[in-house]
């Protein structure tokens, strides 16, 4: 399906990442957003608030992030594509409803413009330290999808992809920006609506009475949806439930539901992951990076090549699910992995798990506040190559 032209600001713009993300959401068909002000993410909803009245839709500034993150779920069950936007402290509050969205399989997008933490931390400066929180932050077992854009253009392009993935898999999808990407201004090309592919919600074809909200058909792991007001009289609960959506307080129901909540992303991991590779085959050292750090790492990789090191670069565009399979494959030939990230070592744990001792793994941590100095990453590459 093609994008609704009313939401598409076709043209060539000089725009920052926050504003580009808003345009991405509108192009994706988001017509309901709720948010609470928090630096450095606020510009996304400020623009949404200004744009949505002429596109057709609603923005509401809620009383806090607890409210924002569940108001959008009401919006989703009313039939719309929905989004909320936040940063670290707000993300912590939203964890309650990440779990609700996971268990009720409510498609929604949560934009996280990462800043330094813990707690209030560095409100105006970057970090990539929420990577594990978005994967594991709400209690219980479930799966999510996360994307890591590295430029304003990607804030537009990949946010559309984020909405599409939310609809396809019915999971909360996290859009892991950071302060640098959010506030960096670059050229953003917004194509014609007819060139933008958007995924429509998977609506049921069944009639009221026949339809069971959490029944999967045709071997799919993702049930089809209806919306409130269509006569289906659905029941949706955050309790463990059966295919009818009714609470089911027993071991079998728990196993069936939770297993599927994990499997629907984990088993389809290879279809979802998106790794951009540069010179990985035959490389001795492989740098694994994501988000803003991938741009800095790119500069270090080139500098290392100029010094004769056979170094490859794997850029994770989709960070969750993690591309364990591909990393494991590369670990058969590469001698070392170098993982720079704006945290004290988060995704490197996943790299280590996938490499499983077949190569050395070197973390290049950074507590946040700015990006890495490319020379620091270069040094790590040179040491790993030795």
């Amino acid at each position: 399906m093609k994008a609704d032209p009313r939401g598409v600001l076709t043209g060539i713009h000089f725009m920052d990442g926050d504003h580009a993300a808003c345009e991405g959401a509108l192009a994706a068909g988001c017509r309901f957003a709720a948010g609470y002000p928090i630096t450095p993410s606020t510009e996304v909803v400020e623009r949404f608030a200004a744009r949505i009245p002429t596109v057709g839709g609603v923005f509401i500034q809620m009383e806090d992030e607890l409210a924002s993150s569940i108001a959008i779920q009401g919006g989703a069950w009313a039939g719309h594509k929905v989004m909320t936007v936040t940063s670290g402290p707000g993300l912590s509050l939203m964890m309650e409803h990440v779990g609700l969205a996971a268990i009720t399989e409510t498609p929604c997008v949560i934009v996280d413009v990462q800043r330094g933490g813990p707690s209030t931390g560095l409100p105006t400066l970057p970090a990539q330290a929420d990577m594990m929180q978005v994967r594991w932050g709400s209690h219980g077992d479930y799966s999510i999808i996360a994307l890591s854009p590295n430029s304003p253009q990607e804030c537009f392009d990949l946010l559309i992809k984020a909405f599409n993935l939310a609809e396809e898999y019915r999971v909360p999808v996290f859009f892991m920006m950071d302060e640098v990407v959010g506030h960096m201004t670059e050229r953003v090309v917004i194509p014609e609506a007819s060139e933008i592919e958007v995924v429509e919600r998977k609506w049921t074809r069944k009639k009221p009475g026949e339809y069971r909200p959490f029944e999967c058909e045709d071997g799919s792991l993702v049930p089809s949806m209806v919306k409130a007001g269509d006569g289906y009289r659905i029941h949706i609960t955050g309790l463990t439930h059966d295919e009818r959506g009714y609470p089911a307080m027993n071991v079998a129901a728990q196993d069936k539901l939770v297993r599927r909540l994990k499997d629907k992303v984990d088993l389809l991991r290879d279809r979802i992951v998106d790794v951009r590779e540069d010179g990985v085959d035959g490389a001795d050292v492989v740098v694994v990076s994501y988000g803003i750090t991938s741009r800095i790492a790119g500069a270090a990789v080139e500098a290392a090549r100029a010094r004769g090191v056979r170094v490859g670069h794997m850029r994770l565009v989709i960070t969750w699910p993690f591309p364990s399979g591909r990393i494991a494959e590369v670990a058969k030939t590469a001698r070392a992995f170098v993982v720079p990230e704006l945290n004290m070592g988060q995704m490197v744990i996943e790299v280590e798990r996938a490499v499983c001792g077949r190569a050395s793994v070197r973390c290049v941590p950074h507590a946040g506040g700015t990006v890495h100095d490319p020379d620091v990453i270069l040094d790590a590459i040179m040491e790993a190559a030795r």
């Binding site: 000089f14 506030h183 201004t185 490319p374």
Partner: protein
Amino acid sequence: MAKTEIRIGGLGGQGVILSGIIIGKAAAIYDGKHSTLIQAFGPEARGSACSAQVTVSDAPIGYPYVKNPDILVVMSRDAFVQFAPTLKDNGLLLYEEELVEPSGLPAGVRAYGVPATRFAEELGRRLVLNIVMVGFFAGVTGLLSYSAMEKAVLASVPRGTEDLNLRAFKRGYEHGQALVARA
């Protein structure tokens, strides 16, 4: 693969960020180059220090920050004191000559001054001093085409002020060209 790193510094309220946006826009939209603008983001009280970093390049830009600019544009004494030591050797300094007195510059730096505030006042609005500065930048550096810069100015200023801003841009531009011709 030419890459030019620019730092613009001044005080909040002088239109420092808008100057960066105009240069970035001229490069990225109208001159077909790559450009990244980073703005120092903080409590933006009027009158406090404010700066923008602009990278202009023929190739995609990786590292987005400007550590050692090729070109430094300063509209306040504080900005000069803070950023002048970071200028590359043989770099270029553009300064508001009634607010900044350059001294102790890195080796080989060429410096050009413009009375941007006075020019702006003569044009009728002190507010357009940043556009005079942008014109001056265009005139001295020749980094971006005149037409790209002009279009970027028109696309960035409030509706109804285009004429005034174009005159400010021209005034700065001509002053810059004249200084370069003399040098």
